[in-house]
Amino acid sequence: MDFRLKHKEETIALAVEASGEGGFAAAIGDRRVAVSFARISEHQMRLTVDGRQVLAFVAETPDGKAVMVDGRTFLLADERASGARPRSGAANGPKTVTPPMPAVVTQILVAQGQAVEKGQGLLVVSAMKMDTLLTAPFAGVVTRVNVAEGEKVAPKQVLVDIEPAAAEPAAGRAS
C-alpha cells in the first residue's frame, strides 16, 4: 500500500506493507522502519518505531490531518484524496486577493472601476487584534468588490476582482 502525504509544498511517499494486525513495515525514501501501533483513543495512537515508543495525537482538521509527535504538530493531507489542497499557492505566485487567515474586513480602500497599481492597498482585514493590508497582486482595474466592511471572510475567498492591465502577463481576471 502506498501513501502520498502532502506537508506544505512537500510530498512524503511511504511504501507500506502490513505485517499482521497492528504492524507494518514502511519505506520512506531509503529509510525502512518497522512499526507497531495501537489506537488508545479516537485521537491518540501508540506507535513503536524501531523499538522506540512514541505517542501521537491525531485529529482531522479542515486543512488536513493534524498530527502531534513530541510537541511538534504537522498538517498532513492525503495527496490523492479529492480536494487535497495545496497549503500555499506560492509556486505560481499569489494572483488573488484573499485573506491569509479567517478574518473580518475592517476597511475597504478601493471602489469598483478604480485603477490600481501592483502592490497598492485594497482593503484591511483584522484577525485576533492584528490588522493585515491586502494589496493588488498586479496592476489593473477593480471590477468588483465582493465584500463589505464588518464582513467575516476566509482564505480562498476572493475579496476583490481585478481586471489586469494589458501589460500584465497573467491571463484573465484575478479570481
Binding site: 514502511a26 498530527v67 502531534m68 509527535v69 504538530t73 484577525a127
Partner: protein, 495 residues
C-alpha cells in the same frame, strides 16, 4: 466580602479569576458576546449574561452593556482582567459613580498613568529613574530638533496615549525626525484619538524587567519581585520568567524600592506592575505602570506562593494588606510560555479556528491557565491567547527542562500554536545562558522554521491512524448489574 463579582473579560483570565472567586465563596457572573456563547469563561460562571455582538466595541468594550449586566445580576464588584476595559479610566470612573467596586486602582490613577507624559512627570517627581527624554510634547519641528539633540540619537518617538507599538518610531538621524514625528502623531491620533507624541532615548540592547506591586487603601505598599519579559514578538511578550537572570540581589532590592516609590508617587491602590527597561550596565529606567493584573502574573504566584487575584479582591473590598515586605520570599524559578493561536512559521500570523483536540500538560510544578477546550471555535475577533503554560522548579535550569517536557506533551490540534517554536527557544543556547534581550527573537530566531526531524514519524502516525479502526475499545465482558450477595470485607492492605 463581596457576595457576587462580575468578570468583565473572557478567555483564560476570566476563568482564572473565577477560580479564586469560587474559593472565596463569591458567586461569579460571566459576560459573553455572540462569538463566545460556548466559551469556557461563560460555562464556568454561576451566571452568564449575553452582552451583544462579537465586535468588541459592541460587547466587551461597551461600558453601558457591562454596567447593565452588573445591575441586572446584582454584582457588587467588577473584575476587569487585562485588556478590554481593564485600563479604561472612564469605565473605572463610571463604576465609582454607579457604586460598583472596580477591582483595580482609582480612575484618577488609571488616567494619570495612562498618559505616558504625565506618568513620566509623576515618576520624576517621585525620584524614580526615567528614560532620558521629554517631559512634555513639542509644537514644531524646530522644538523637536532641540529636544532630540539634547537626548541624542538613536531615539524613540512614542505616543503619550500609546501602547502596543502604535505611534512608535525609532529615529537614527536628525534628518528623519520631522517626518517621523508627523507620521507617529497621525498614527497615534488614528489609534487613540490623541496624537500627542514625545521623544525618549532609544536603548537598543536592553531587557524588559517589571516589578509586581501590591498596595492597599491604607497606604501599605509592597513589591513581589520582578518578572523578566524580554522575549517578545510583535512587541508582545511570549516568554516570561522570574527571577530575571540579569538581577543581582542588590539590583532586585533597588528596583523593588523604585517600584514601591513609583506606586506611592502615583497614589496606587491594588495590584499593579511597574515596567522598567534595564540596560546591560544594570541601569534601569521607568517605562510605564500597568494598572491591572498582568497576563504573566502566575509566575509571581509560583515563586511567592501568593494568590494575586485574592489579594486584589481583598484590597478592593477595603481590607488591609497584612503581608509585610519581609514576609514575602521568592523561591525557585518560574517560566511562562504564552500559547497563542498563531503560526510562528508565518510571522506569528493569527490562526483562529476550531480546537479539534486538546491535551494539556500536567505534573509536578506545571500549571496551565487555559481558556479553551476541545470543540471550541476560537473566535477571530479577540486576542489569540489560548492558554498560559507555567512551570515552577528549584532552579532556572530545572524550570527550563520542566517547561520543555510540558511543551512536548501539549497537544493543540486544529489551530496553529507556537509550541514547537517555544521548544526551540527554550532549548537554545542564548536562552539557556539567560541572554534574553528585547531583540531576542529578531537576533536568534528571525529565520526560524519548524523542526522537521519528527515529520516522518508524524507521517507514520498518520498512516497508522488510517489503518487502525476508530471504534472504541469494547467494554469489559462482565455483566453490568450488581446484585450484592452476602459478603463481608475480610482484610485490606496499606500502602
Amino acid at each position: 466580602m463581596f457576595k457576587k463579582i462580575l468578570i468583565a473579560n473572557r478567555g483564560e483570565i476570566a476563568v482564572r479569576i473565577m477560580r479564586t472567586c469560587k474559593e472565596m465563596g463569591i458567586a461569579t457572573v460571566a459576560v459573553y458576546s455572540d462569538a463566545d456563547q460556548q466559551a469556557l469563561h461563560a460555562l464556568e460562571a454561576d451566571e452568564a449574561v449575553a452582552i451583544g455582538p462579537s465586535e468588541p466595541s459592541q460587547s466587551y468594550l461597551d461600558i453601558e452593556r457591562i454596567v447593565a449586566a452588573v445591575k441586572q445580576t446584582g454584582a457588587e464588584a467588577v473584575h476587569p482582567g487585562y485588556g478590554f476595559l481593564a485600563e479604561n479610566a472612564d469605565f473605572a470612573a463610571r463604576c465609582e459613580r454607579e457604586g460598583i467596586v472596580f477591582i483595580g486602582p482609582p480612575a484618577r490613577v488609571i488616567r494619570n498613568l495612562g498618559d505616558k507624559i504625565i506618568a513620566r512627570q509623576i515618576m520624576q517627581k517621585g525620584g524614580v529613574p526615567i528614560i532620558p527624554g521629554m517631559l512634555e510634547t513639542a509644537q514644531n519641528p524646530a522644538a523637536w530638533l532641540v529636544h532630540a539633540e539634547q537626548i541624542g540619537f538613536p531615539l524613540l518617538i512614542k505616543a503619550a496615549a500609546g501602547g502596543g507599538g502604535k505611534g512608535m518610531r525609532i529615529v537614527h538621524h536628525p534628518g528623519e525626525l520631522a517626518e517621523a514625528c508627523q507620521a507617529a502623531a497621525r498614527e497615534a491620533a488614528a489609534a487613540f484619538g490623541d496624537g500627542t507624541v514625545y521623544l525618549e532615548k532609544f536603548l537598543p540592547k536592553s531587557r524588559h524587567v517589571e516589578i509586581q506591586i501590591l498596595a492597599d487603601g491604607q497606604g501599605h505598599t509592597i513589591h513581589l519581585f520582578e518578572r523578566e519579559c524580554s522575549i517578545q514578538r510583535r512587541h508582545q511578550k511570549i516568554i516570561e520568567e522570574t527571577p530575571s537572570p540579569a538581577l543581582t540581589p542588590a539590583l532586585r532590592a533597588a528596583m523593588g524600592r523604585a517600584a514601591v516609590a513609583a506606586a506611592r508617587a502615583a497614589g496606587y491602590v491594588n495590584a499593579g506592575t511597574v515596567e522598567f527597561i534595564l540596560d546591560p550596565e544594570g541601569r534601569f529606567y521607568f517605562l510605564e505602570v500597568n494598572t491591572r493584573l498582568q497576563v504573566e502574573h502566575p509566575i509571581t504566584e509560583m515563586i511567592t506562593g501568593l494568590d494575586l487575584v485574592r489579594h486584589q479582591i481583598e484590597i478592593a473590598a477595603g481590607r488591609p494588606l497584612t503581608l509585610t515586605q519581609e514576609e514575602v520570599h521568592g523561591r525557585g524559578h518560574a517560566i511562562e510560555c504564552r500559547i497563542y493561536a498563531e503560526d510562528p512559521a508565518q510571522n506569528f500570523m493569527p490562526s483562529p479556528g476550531r480546537i479539534a483536540f486538546l491535551r494539556e500538560p500536567t505534573g509536578p510544578g506545571v500549571r496551565n491557565d487555559c481558556g479553551v477546550y476541545a470543540g471550541f471555535e476560537v473566535p477571530v475577533e479577540y486576542d489569540p491567547i489560548l492558554s498560559k503554560l507555567v512551570v515552577h522548579a528549584e532552579t532556572r535550569e530545572l524550570a527550563t527542562r520542566r517547561m520543555i517536557r510540558a511543551l512536548a506533551s501539549y497537544a493543540v490540534l486544529g489551530v496553529q500554536t507556537p509550541i514547537d517554536f517555544l521548544l526551540d527557544v527554550l532549548a537554545s543556547a542564548p536562552f539557556q545562558a539567560g541572554e534574553t534581550y528585547t531583540d531576542f527573537i529578531a537576533t536568534h530566531f528571525a529565520d526560524w522554521s519548524p523542526d522537521r526531524k519528527v515529520l516522518e514519524l508524524a507521517a507514520i502516525a498518520c498512516v497508522a491512524d488510517a489503518m487502525a479502526p476508530k471504534g472504541r475499545p469494547a467494554g469489559r465482558a462482565s455483566e453490568a448489574a450488581a446484585h450484592p450477595g452476602p459478603w463481608r470485607t475480610l482484610n485490606h492492605w496499606r500502602l
